[in-house]
Structure formats: C-alpha cells, structure tokens
C-alpha cells in the first residue's frame, strides 16, 4: 500500500478539465474538443500508472489516501483502490474518451457538452475510488447532474421526460442510501466502507443496528439495495432505463450503459456484500428471482422490441443482471464450493467489464445507424447494411457476437464463468437463465439479419456511407479489445483473481 495523490489526480483532472471548459468562454470549438479529449484520456494514463503499482499477490487495497475531513460526522477523505476498483477505472479510462469523442463529434455547444461530460466522468471515477460514504455519495449524486443535462440538452425529442424520470428514479435510490447510511452512522459512528465491513466481520454491526429498532437492519439493507438497484438497474427498478438510453445522445448512452450502470454493480460488490452479507443471504431467494427477472424479461423485452435503442437497453438489463445473478447466487449459497464461488465472482466482474465494452460498441453502432438514417432507429427502416457498408458491418458484427457470448470473443468468458459458478450453487436459477441465453441469441441474430443482411432497403437504400476515420477510431479499439480479451482473458482476470480467491476463502472457511 502506498500513499500518493494518484487517486485524487485521477478524479480531479477530468473535473479540472470541466472547470476550464466551463470558464473559458471564448475557447474555439476545436480547442475545446481537444482539451476535453485530453482531460478524458488522462484517466487511462492514471489507470496505467495505477496498474503498474498493482500487486497481484495482494487481495486488498494497493493504493490508499486517507485524511480526516469532517470530525463531527466521523468522515474521512478516504480513497483507495483494489483490483476490482482498478478494473472499473480502466473501463472508464477506455470508454470515457471514446464516448466523449462520440458525444462531441456532431454536438452543438461543444464546450458545454465537453464540460458536462468530464464532470460525469470524474464523478464516476470518484465512485470507483471513494471508500467513505461522504466523498462517495458526493460523486454518486454529482454524476446525476451532468447526466441530466447531457440527456436533456443533447438528447432526442422526448429527452426532457426521460432525463427527469432518470434523475427522479435515481434520487429515490439515493434517498434510500442516505437513509441507510444515516442509520449506520447512528449505530456505529462511522460511514466508512472499510470500517463498516470490518465491524461486520467482527460481528458487531448487526447488534448495533438492531439497537436502533427491530426493523432497522432490514430497512437499512433495503435502503442500500434500492439505491444500488436503481442504478444498475436491478429488475424491477429499471423503469427509467429504456427511455433514458433511447433518448440520450449516442455517446452518452455509451457511457451510461458502459460505466454508469457499472457504478451500481460495483456498489453491490463494495457496499452491499461486505456490509450486509447476512441480509443478502437471508433474502437471496427473492433477490435471485429479481436478477432472473432481469435476465429473462430483459431478453424477452429486447426480443419484442422493434426499436434498436430499446432493444439494446433491454439487452443491457439482461447482461447486467447476470453479474447480479452471480453475486446473489454466491451470497445465498453460504459456505460452498470454493471453485464455484470464485468462478462466479470472477465471471461477474469480467461480465461487468465486457458488457461495458460490447454494449457501448453496440450503442455506438446504433448511433451510426441513426445518424445515417436521420435519427431513425426502427429496425424496419434498415436492411442490407452489409452491402452498403461492409467494414462497418464487420466491426458491428464483432460487437454483436461479443455481446452474444461467442467463444473467442470477450463476452464469452464472463458468461461462461458465471454459468459455471451458478450451476454449482443454484442449479435451478442457472437453468432458467439458460433459456434467456437462447432468447438473447435470437434477438441479436434477428437484429443482425434484419438490419445488415438482405437487400438494401429503407434508409440504406440511398447513399449509405461506410465508417469514416473518426468512427473507426472509436469502434476499432473497442473491437480490438474484444478480440484481445476474448483470446487472453487472464489479462483482466489477473486483476480480480486474488480478490475473488480471498472472498471465496472467507466463504469456504468452516
């Protein structure tokens, strides 16, 4: 563990960039764009620097910053990173600049869009590195503001309603989080994640919370669950999602699905599991049903959907639900087969990362299609894209098959590990989820067939340009990564293996 300002810098640089863009009123659009991209790409640089410090043999935090902040609330400025956090930081570092470029490409008001985007990116990073509720919650809540404005200001025709609903749903979750942490503080005097986890591990937390009232532990658990569940989203808290993903500008949708939904998943691993394992176990049944609901209904809804963006949104729900399914299966099983546990957990985190890549790639594809068709994203308006734009079709196909879980591409690894683990732990749930796999294959393939194959029709009938250089620069790296991580998944798994092993060990102990 080394003290450094790397983590502060990681969060602060995008924010500084946002500030610069915000105040530099006379900056020309080109310079603004370059500045924004630079600030956004800094995350990747920091991520690589942090990666260099990562010690694969240690499961815990390898970088930490902690100074007292608000004495009267027992709050510290506490940032830290372990393998899991690093995974998400890297994901942000990869997707952030790509999504930003996509957002700014055809945007009006470049400066404002760039500033909001950088604010969003910094906030997301803050969520991944903060270990005390106060700084964490600042970032968690702050991320809503730029998201709101990006959707509202640069989104589709009904973006106003979508943005409003998105924020209000998330605020409902935030109210639950606030409530829960107020209770935790009332009971323990700290809101620090690591301290709370330690108290839990020592077996003191339940008693202290129980002292506040018989129902308090349950209420607190539910508060956190709802808070994280809305963000991820966990079925049935997803009602905000389709419209939001559909109305947001393509670049923002990339970031929303690629990074922001992972904030929820991350929270499940960082907060809910370490602090509330008993509750998680006690309610594993209903939770599994909810996760399965997301998996199955997400797939079915995607199948029924005639609109590209809606389909991708539901597909996202489906894919993210796999991560949670794995977690709930592990939590519910209790002491169990270590290999299964480890495989489920590693699978869940890999799935989170991989879904980030493939889903953003697909949203980008959707964005390209919309742009070519003048804003339309109904399947029926497309046909024969492969003939019109073969290179685009190739890359889109890779993303699509990655999302589908084709072996050899990155998506396969996560889903495979999840299924391996869950089959051992909760066979029934795994069996049901398999059905959804089938449905996923159907809707993705039928999309592939309807849009890319056949004669050129609808919007594709006229001139339909292939990828230009800028689009290449976005989609290309994503596809390369998909292939690379599909071939060598251990690159990523190495980040989380030690952590997963220690978790598994703690569970398999008698």
């Amino acid at each position: 563990m080394t003290a450094s300002l790397l983590l502060t810098g990681l969060v602060a640089v995008p924010w500084l960039g946002a500030l610069l863009l915000g105040v530099a009123g006379s900056l020309p659009a080109r310079a603004a764009r370059s500045l924004a991209v630079l600030a956004s790409a800094s995350t990747l640089v920091f991520g690589v620097l942090l990666l260099a410090r990562f010690d694969p043999s240690l499961p815990g935090l390898f970088v930490e910053e902690r100074v007292p902040w608000i004495r009267s609330l027992g709050i510290d400025y506490h940032l830290g990173l372990d393998g899991m956090g690093l995974l998400f930081v890297l994901l942000t570092g990869i997707l952030g600049p790509l999504a930003l470029v996509t957002t700014l490409r055809r945007a009006t008001r470049v400066r404002a869009a760039g500033a909001w985007f950088l604010l969003l990116q910094g906030s997301a990073l803050g969520v991944f590195v903060a270990l005390d509720f106060f700084p964490w919650f600042i970032c968690w809540e702050l991320s809503l503001v730029p998201a709101f404005f990006l959707i509202r200001g640069w989104g589709g025709a009904h973006a106003g309603t979508a943005a409003y609903r998105f924020v209000v749903f998330t605020l409902a979750g935030s109210a639950g989080l606030l409530l829960a942490f107020a209770a935790l503080y009332a009971a323990t005097g700290t809101m620090n994640f690591t301290d709370l986890a330690r108290l839990r591990a020592a077996g003191e937390l339940a008693g202290k919370l129980g002292a506040l009232g018989a129902w308090t532990p349950v209420l607190v658990f539910l508060g956190v669950l709802v808070g994280l569940g809305v963000k991820a989203p966990l079925f049935p808290f997803h009602a905000w999602m389709p419209a939001t993903y559909a109305e947001a500008p393509a670049g923002v949708s990339m970031f929303l699905t690629g990074v922001m939904s992972k904030m929820g998943v991350y929270g499940f691993f960082r907060l809910l599991w370490p602090i509330f394992p008993e509750e998680l176990r006690a309610y594993a049944g209903p939770l599994l049903v909810m996760a399965l609901g997301g998996v199955v209904l997400g797939a079915l809804a995607a199948l029924r959907s005639g609109n590209l963006r809606h389909m991708l949104a539901y597909s996202s729900l489906n894919h993210v639900s796999y991560c949670l399914l794995a977690l709930f299966a592990v939590a519910g099983a209790g002491p169990a087969d270590g290999v299964a546990v480890e495989s489920a957990l590693v699978g869940a985190l890999l799935q989170a990362f991989n879904h980030g890549l493939s889903a953003s790639a697909l949203f980008f594809v959707a964005g390209v299609l919309e742009q070519r068709s003048g804003g339309d994203s109904d399947f029926a308006r497309f046909g024969g894209v492969r003939n019109a734009a073969p290179r685009f079709a190739l890359l889109a196909g890779v993303a699509l098959f990655s999302s589908l879980g084709l072996p050899g591409l990155n998506g396969f690894v996560g889903e495979f590990l999840i299924f391996r683990g869950v089959f051992a732990l909760q066979p029934l749930a795994a069996a049901v989820a398999t059905v959804a796999l089938l449905v996923t294959a159907i809707f993705l393939l039928s999309f592939w067939q309807r849009v890319f194959h056949g004669p050129r029709s609808g919007a594709v009938a006229g001139s339909f340009a292939d990828l230009d250089a800028a689009e290449w620069r976005v989609l290309g790296p994503l596809v390369v990564l998909m292939i690379l991580l599909g071939v060598a998944p251990q690159l990523l798994a190495g980040l989380i293996n030690p952590l997963a092993m220690s978790w598994a060990a703690s569970l398999t102990l008698p």
Binding site: I70, R71, S72, L73, G74, T108, R109, A112, F134, F137, I138, E141, L142, V145, F148, F149, R152, G153, W154, G155, A159, G160, A163, Y164, V167, V168, L171, A172, S174, A175, G176, L178, L179, F181, A182, A183, Y185, A186, A187, T188, G189, L212, G213, W215, T216, L219, G223
Partner: protein, 498 residues
C-alpha cells in the same frame, strides 16, 4: 471589545439614516443600507474569527432595564446564536444587493428592511426572554409594510396573513411566558429565572405552557399545519423581503423553539415530542408534494421552504444533541439556500421576465436569455435538493441520524421528503430554465442578459457559504455542538454515537 453587541442598535440607526438619506436620493439610501448590512457582516465576521466555542452563553452586555420586573438588557452569544448571526449577516447583505433595483420609496424600503434585520439580530443575541420577545415583535411589523408596499401577487392579502400568523404565534408565546412568569413566581425574565419558574409549575401547567410557547414559535417556523402563511407571504413579498423571510425570519421561530421552548419546559417537551415529530414529518412530505404541482415559480420555492423547515422541526422533535446540532445547521443552510432561491426567482427572473408562470417560462429559452441566473439556480437547486457537498447535506444527515435513534419511521418519512425535494427542485429547474434547452437553436448566444455586479456579489456570497459549509460543516458544528452541551440543554438525550 467586540462589535457584536452593537449590531442591533447600529442596524436600527442605519434604518433611520436610510430613511433620512432616502428623502434626498435613492442612491444614498442604498449605500447607507449596504454599509449598515456590511457593518453587521464585519462585526459578525470579527466575532466569528475570535470565537472560542464554549458551553455557556457568553455575556456581551448586561444592563438593568426594567428593574421593577427584573428585566435586563442582556445580550449574549454562544455557538448557536453566532451561527445564526452570521447567517443573518449573509442574508441581510445579499438582500440589500438583490434589492439594488428597488426604485420606489427606496429610503422607506431600506428603513423597514433594516428594522426587520435589527429585530432578527436582536433575537439571536438576546439572553433575556423579555428582550428576546421585544426584538421578536420588532421583526414582525416591518414585514407587513415591506410586503404590502413593495410586493406582488395579492400582496395585501399575503402581507396581512403573514403578519397575523406571526403575531398570533407571538401572542401564544407571550401568553406562555407571562403565565410561566406569574404562575412560577419568577424573579425576572432571564432564561435561568424562567426555566426555574417553569420547573415550579405543575406537570399539567408545564405541558400546557410548553404547548403555547412551542407552537407559538413554530407558527413562525412554518410547522405544518401552521405554515399556511409562509407560501402566500413569501410569494407576495418583494425579493429582499422574501429572502429574509424564508432565510432568516422563519429561523426566528425555530430558534425560539430551540432556545426557549425546549430548555424551559423539558417536561412539557417530552409530552409533546411525538406530536411535534409527526407534524414535522407530515410537513416535510406534504409541502414537498404541494411544491411538486405548483405553477408559480415562487410558490415552489415557498413550499420548499416549509418542507425544509420541517427538517429543522424534526431535528428538534428528536431532542438529541446530534439532531439538535443538525437542526441548527439546517437553519443556517436553509437560510442561505432559501435566500439564494428567492433571489433568483424574484430578482434575476421576475424583474427581467415579468412572469413567474412556469408554463410561460418553459416556452422561453431561459437558459440562453439568462444564463447566469440559470447557473446560479442550478447550484442553488442542487444545494436545496440536499446534495452532498452543499450545506444541506450534513444537516439533513444529522437530523436523519437523530430520527433513526428516536423513531425509525420518521427517518423513512424524512427520506421520502428528500426524494420529493429532489423531484420538485428538478422539475422547477427544468421548466423554469431549461424548457427550451436542447431545442433547435444556436450556441448560447452572448446576447443573453448578464447578471449585474450586485447580483453576482449577492449570489456569490450565499453560494460560497453553502458550499463552504457543505464541504467543511465542522466550521459551524464546532460552535454548535459545545453550545448544546450546556446545562440548559441537559434534557437532550446524549445518544452520541461511539
């Protein structure tokens, strides 16, 4: 030698000077008003800089006044009052800045305004219940004339309702205090003497007297269902008055509850605690829901004030040091934020657009017409939503902590209130400023109307305060918490977490 005890008198003198100066030139009256407000700010700032937190009221001046009744001119300060004095200084100064464009009867306007401010300062500094009450009432009447004379939207109705509610509340307080004085055989009106007298009352008398005093004060604090004066009054009031009304004057009521009702009648408080808590919770949620469906921009802010003051009352109801500190912090926080919100609505928007109708505003590209106002409102709105990083968050968090300890359902209901606050703030932000955001149109033109310097200064002052306290609430909590550990608050449950 501290300047603090001179603030009320100096502000009254300033009021007089403003009146005199206003007869000659409006500009002179403005300058006098600003200087007077700045005097308060400087005095409060100097006192704050040298303030050593203690758990006693530190006497500033103590002179015999009405010896026949044992009444003294006794000003004193502790962490709680100093926080609120600082708040008053901030609100008063920015109020003057936001009133720079008042054009009619400027001298009278500022004279009334400063009289109100003087009364507020006096209340926060009083350590004698009679003196407290005198200042409390001095703050009531100018409101009527400010609202009825310079207001908008049914101003005479709003003014009258506002003043009659306040006065009826203060009548309850007077009845309770004088009864305590008489029945308990107090030697004077010092806090200690009345506390002692109250302890000599029978249980039933104590409970009844607490009811009178508490609900009297709570009327001004906007406790549901005594709050109905607040939205109409705030809407009718001119900008500076509504800033001061919502920002500071409502705090007078809450401060009275905290400083007088609770410590004087701990027995009565215990009997009423549940009722108060439920009313507070009802107010938080009810006012929030009402704010959600308003069409007048200012009504949204008016109801939001009631909702936020519900948190203060909830904190008081729990009677715990933690939550009392939260309630005090919330007083400060809401004072700053409400001042800011009313400033945006009244000064920045209404004076330029001449409408507060959200439907009309929604149809205008407000983010381009008034980019500065939009920016300020976004920040103020975030603060009002209780986002971490702004002063409302630590306050509400502490109150929630207290509520958890006392009655978990209150905590849950209050969390619902937080959500509703988020929803209505977002709604009004969206409709008032961003109705045409993203609609076809060019870059935000430079043609948008810029904020004037006084507006920038006023908004900057208040925004700075809410962010500073949001990031470093210890600045105030280090004053407040020791003050709450004084013997006067011995009743407060010390459920302080380990």
């Amino acid at each position: 030698m501290s300047l603090l005890p001179w603030i009320p008198v100096a502000t009254l003198v300033g009021a007089l000077l403003a009146l005199v100066a206003g007869a000659r030139s409006a500009a002179a009256a403005r300058v006098v008003a600003l200087l007077t407000a700045l005097f308060g700010a400087v005095a409060a700032g100097a006192a704050a800089a040298r303030f050593a937190p203690s758990n006693e009221l530190v006497t500033l001046v103590d002179l015999p006044w009405i010896t026949q009744l044992g009444i003294r001119y006794h000003l004193a300060v502790d962490g709680i009052s100093l926080s609120l004095v600082v708040l008053t200084a901030l609100a008063a100064t920015s109020g003057v800045l936001f009133s720079w464009t008042v054009a009619e009867r400027v001298g009278e306007f500022f004279a009334l305004y400063l009289t109100l401010v003087a009364g507020v300062y006096g209340v926060f500094l009083s350590a004698d219940a009679f003196l407290f009450f005198v200042f409390y009432e001095i703050a009531i009447v100018p409101k009527y004339f400010l609202v009825a004379g310079w207001g908008s939207t049914r101003r005479e109705y709003g003014a009258m309702k506002l003043v009659l509610y306040s006065f009826a509340g203060s009548a309850l307080v007077l009845a309770g205090l004088v009864w305590t004085y008489g029945a308990g055989g107090a030697e004077g009106f010092s806090f200690g003497a009345l506390t002692e007298a109250a302890s000599r009352m029978s249980y039933g008398e104590n409970v009844a007297a607490f009811g009178l005093v508490f609900f009297g004060f709570a009327t001004l604090a906007g406790l549901f269902p005594l709050h109905t004066w607040a939205p109409t009054g705030h809407v009718a009031a001119p900008t500076a008055a509504s800033m001061l009304l919502a920002g500071v004057v409502m705090k007078l009521g809450a401060y009275g509850c905290l400083r007088i009702a609770l410590p004087f009648y701990p027995v009565g408080f215990a009997a009423w605690q549940l009722v108060i808590g439920w009313l507070a919770v009802a107010g938080i949620v009810y006012a929030g829901l009402v704010a959600l469906v308003q069409r007048d921009f200012k009504f949204v802010i008016g109801y939001s004030s009631v909702s936020h003051m519900g948190f203060v009352m909830l904190g008081l109801a729990t009677g715990e040091i933690e939550a009392l500190a939260g309630a005090t912090l919330q007083m400060f926080s809401h004072g700053v934020i409400a001042g800011l919100l009313f400033g945006v609505v009244g000064r920045m928007v209404y004076e330029r657009e001449h409408t507060r109708d959200l439907v009309e505003l929604e149809a205008r590209p407000m983010h381009r017409r008034l980019p500065g106002a939009a920016a300020v409102f976004v920040l103020a709105g975030l603060a009002s939503m209780g986002l971490p990083g702004f002063s409302g968050f630590p306050a509400e968090l502490k109150i929630l902590v207290g509520a958890w300890n006392f009655h978990p359902i209150w905590a849950v209901a209050a969390a619902v209130g937080v959500l509703v606050a988020g929803a209505f703030t977002l709604r009004v932000m969206q409709r008032a400023f961003f109705g045409q955001f993203g609609a076809a149109g060019a870059e935000p033109g430079e043609g948008g109307e810029r904020l004037t310097l006084p507006e920038k200064l006023g908004a900057g002052l208040l925004l700075g305060a809410t962010i500073l306290i949001g990031l470093k609430p210890d600045l105030l909590l280090d004053w407040i918490v020791p003050a709450l550990q004084s013997p006067a608050f011995h009743f407060a449950a010390t459920n302080v977490v380990p």
